[in-house]
């Protein structure tokens, strides 16, 4: 037992260090949703309202759609202790991303500790260590992504349910359901995943005779009660906004009904298969600069061979309880992502990291069992992990913040800080609508600054003839004009000019 606690402490510390180190610099700056979450959390904390003046809302309106509440209230809680900062926005994701690692250990340990195959008892150790260093999970834990917290809540729900199977106390299954329902209040994709998992829990509990029909109905009632607001929201016009923007349906708006009937299922199946493409998992990810480091996949390249061994090894032996959790995670989690565009989408399919990590762990352990030269195998594995880990670290800490700065709102923070610096020197400030994101960024970084957004063709009005005006425009590399007050540079390799501040 002592050995387990020592391991858990070590793996949690390593996981925390990897997720915390230089988190305010890499990823380079807050992206627009993080800033919006941060600002809403701040107004909730200070005035009890969101940015639109709604008191303690369940759904937060932002950019014409609605955001789930859990992350924003968590950030508000963090801000109560450490104040409004970039770290505060990312801290919930970092903490829950870190805690997912020991939680995965707990789940696998509960399932495999009495495994007939003694070697399988090492799988919790391997899997949690792997999750701690997996690029996919590291990256989404370091940014302010709701998906990381939702994944933790799903894992917690599974863990509590497994405890319930061991010791059928009512509070455990209720807590498990609450945790899974909370995941649906955290990230959109879980609106579909959460009910499927609750149904799975109830089915497993009923088959294993740990719940009676009466108790099952009570649990289902609790779930429905808690989940009802999500259903109402999803069916409302506000809840459908996001779905309308991102669903596969949106690409076939103008086509006929029969064509939709044929094309949409096919498109969804095609999207679904993309999540199992080795290119997506091991080589390039979804190629969205905000979702992974260019040049890296979601998992390490060396894991591919162990994934194959692990899948074949896993299915050639009997793993009843583990199969019940790994297979649904593998099959269900890409479904919400497959129904949306763009696809594949590594953020929406984040829960897929769990079954893949479990299969890779099985592969590593089985390969160890089969190979005769165990020391050489361990040495080779260490070299592989260190080499690709170092390559990933190099790309992440040296390249990512330079190459992908624009994916993380590059320039807008600097524009807001420049406005903060100069706003007292001018009577009016106007910002070109092409830089409209400055609105939300300045609310977070420079709330004292007020300005208006104007079109490209805007001219100084006659009424302001004697007033001083600061105009902020994108800079396309024109020469320095005499009325230039300042320029905003990007922190990339070329120090590109992002915007110019002109005095009118």
């Amino acid at each position: 037992m002592k050995r387990i606690y020592l391991f858990l402490a070590a793996v949690t510390i390593v996981s925390a260090v990897i997720r915390f180190v230089s988190v305010s610099q890499v990823p380079p700056g807050l992206y627009i949703d993080e800033v919006s979450n941060g600002y809403n959390a701040y107004t909730i904390l200070t005035h009890g309202v969101d940015e639109h003046g709604v008191a303690y809302p369940l759904w937060f309106e932002a950019f014409g759609e609605f955001k789930m509440p859990v992350m924003i209230y968590m950030i508000a809680g963090v801000m109560a202790f450490i104040g409004k900062s970039e770290l505060a926005v990312r801290l919930p994701s970092i903490v829950f991303g870190t805690l997912s690692v020991p939680l995965l250990f707990g789940i696998l340990h509960l399932i495999l500790k009495n495994s007939k195959q003694k070697i399988e008892q090492y799988i919790p150790y391997v899997a949690s260590s792997l999750l701690a260093i997996t690029p996919w999970h590291i990256h989404f834990s370091r940014g302010g992504f709701e998906a990381t917290i939702a994944l933790f809540l799903l894992l917690l729900g599974i863990f509590l349910f497994l405890l319930f199977l061991k010791k059928p106390a009512n509070y455990l299954i209720i807590l498990s359901v609450v945790s899974v329902v909370l995941s649906a209040y955290t990230y959109n994709a879980y609106r579909l995943i959460a009910p499927l998992f609750v149904l799975l829990f109830l089915t497993v509990a009923y088959i294993s005779h740990t719940v009676s029909v009466k108790k099952g109905i009570t649990v289902l009632f609790v779930f429905c009660l808690l989940f009802l607001p999500v259903v109402r929201f999803s069916l409302s016009s506000s809840g459908e906004v996001r779905f309308a923007q991102t669903s596969v349906l949106s690409t076939y708006k103008s086509t006929s009904f029969t064509e939709k009937l044929i094309r949409i299922p096919m498109e969804s199946v095609n999207n679904y298969m993309r999540y199992f493409s080795p290119e997506f998992i091991f080589a390039v990810g979804d190629q969205n600069g905000r979702h992974q480091v260019p040049g890296m996949g979601l998992l390490f390249r060396w894991e591919a061979i162990f994934l194959v061994i692990g899948v074949f090894g896993f299915f050639t032996r009997k793993h009843d309880l583990l199969t019940l959790f790994v297979l649904p995670l593998l099959i269900i989690t890409p479904i919400p992502a497959a129904l949306t565009i763009p696809s594949p989408h590594s953020l929406r399919s984040l829960p897929l990291v769990l079954p893949l990590t479990v299969f890779v762990s099985f592969g590593i352990v089985y390969a160890y069992q089969w190979i005769s030269w165990k020391r050489l195998y361990m040495f080779g594995m260490s070299i592989l992990i260190l080499a690709e880990g170092a390559y990933f670290a190099h790309l992440y800490f040296n390249h990512y913040s330079k190459v992908n700065i624009l994916d993380w709102g590059g320039g807008y923070k600097e524009v807001s800080l420049a406005l903060k610096k100069y706003h007292n020197n001018f009577d009016h400030i106007v910002v070109d609508r092409k830089l409209s994101d400055t609105e939300i960024y300045s609310k977070f970084y420079a709330p004292e600054v007020t300005f208006m957004l104007v079109e490209d063709s805007w001219k100084k009005p006659e009424a302001w003839k004697h007033d001083s005006v600061l105009l902020v425009r994108p800079d396309y590399g024109e020469g320095l004009k005499p009325n230039t007050v300042d320029r905003v540079y990007l922190k990339n390799q070329n120090h590109d000019i992002f915007a110019k501040l002109l005095e009118l």
Binding site: M266, A283, A304
Partner: protein, 193 residues
């Protein structure tokens, strides 16, 4: 009889999908290694490392490592389920997976299949590195033969296990037919017409 039925399933899955490939002149560029692409990427990577120690730059951005990474990327593309479906159909992919599964499970019994598996694993490398020097039809046939062996083996094993699998195969053939007749854009990702 079971052998004939298995062969019919394999060839029907393959035939339905392969017809579309006849319009192609070659496999898409992303399947091939390009030294020019590598050079450009290395230049870009090194540019982002200005100010870093020379040893670090050379360690992470060199032609050897870059080639391995590029070949790896092209190699995994050959195992994309969508690519395999575009050649063999849903039925072919399922039969192939079951063929590999049974050959690995009974490794002492089917030792010769391990040899075929090794050939199968190495064949994509030929396409990645030597693609312009071998005729399209010739190399695709070479590439397909080991797959067909595994599919045939998988179909045979499954039908020997239960005749009901034949019904599943028929359904999969229908799905493959439907997929390939209606949904062709998938092919455009993998081949140049």
């Amino acid at each position: 009889m079971k052998k004939i039925i298995s062969l019919i399933f394999v060839l029907s899955g393959f035939g339905i999908s392969w017809l579309h490939w006849l319009d192609c002149t070659r496999i898409a560029d992303k399947f091939h290694f390009s030294s020019l692409d590598l050079q450009l990427r290395l230049i870009e990577s090194i540019h982002n490392d200005v100010g870093s120690q020379l040893l670090i730059v050379r360690l992470f951005h060199n032609k050897l490592l870059g080639s391995i990474i590029d070949i790896y990327r092209s190699y995994v593309l050959f195992w994309d389920p969508r690519f395999l479906i575009s050649i063999f159909g849903f039925v072919g992919l399922c039969l192939f997976v079951s063929g590999v599964y049974y050959s690995v499970k009974n490794k002492k019994e089917y030792r010769w299949l391990r040899g075929v598996l090794v050939v199968l694993l190495l064949l994509p490398l030929v396409e990645i590195v030597f693609y312009p020097h071998i005729a399209f039809i010739a190399k695709t046939l070479i590439f397909i033969i080991p797959f067909i062996i595994f599919q045939f083996f998988g179909a045979l094993k499954l039908i020997q296990k239960s005749v009901w699998f034949a019904v599943v195969f028929v359904l999969l053939v229908v799905v493959s037919l439907w997929w390939n007749s209606v949904y062709t854009p998938i092919l455009l990702e993998f081949c140049v017409k």
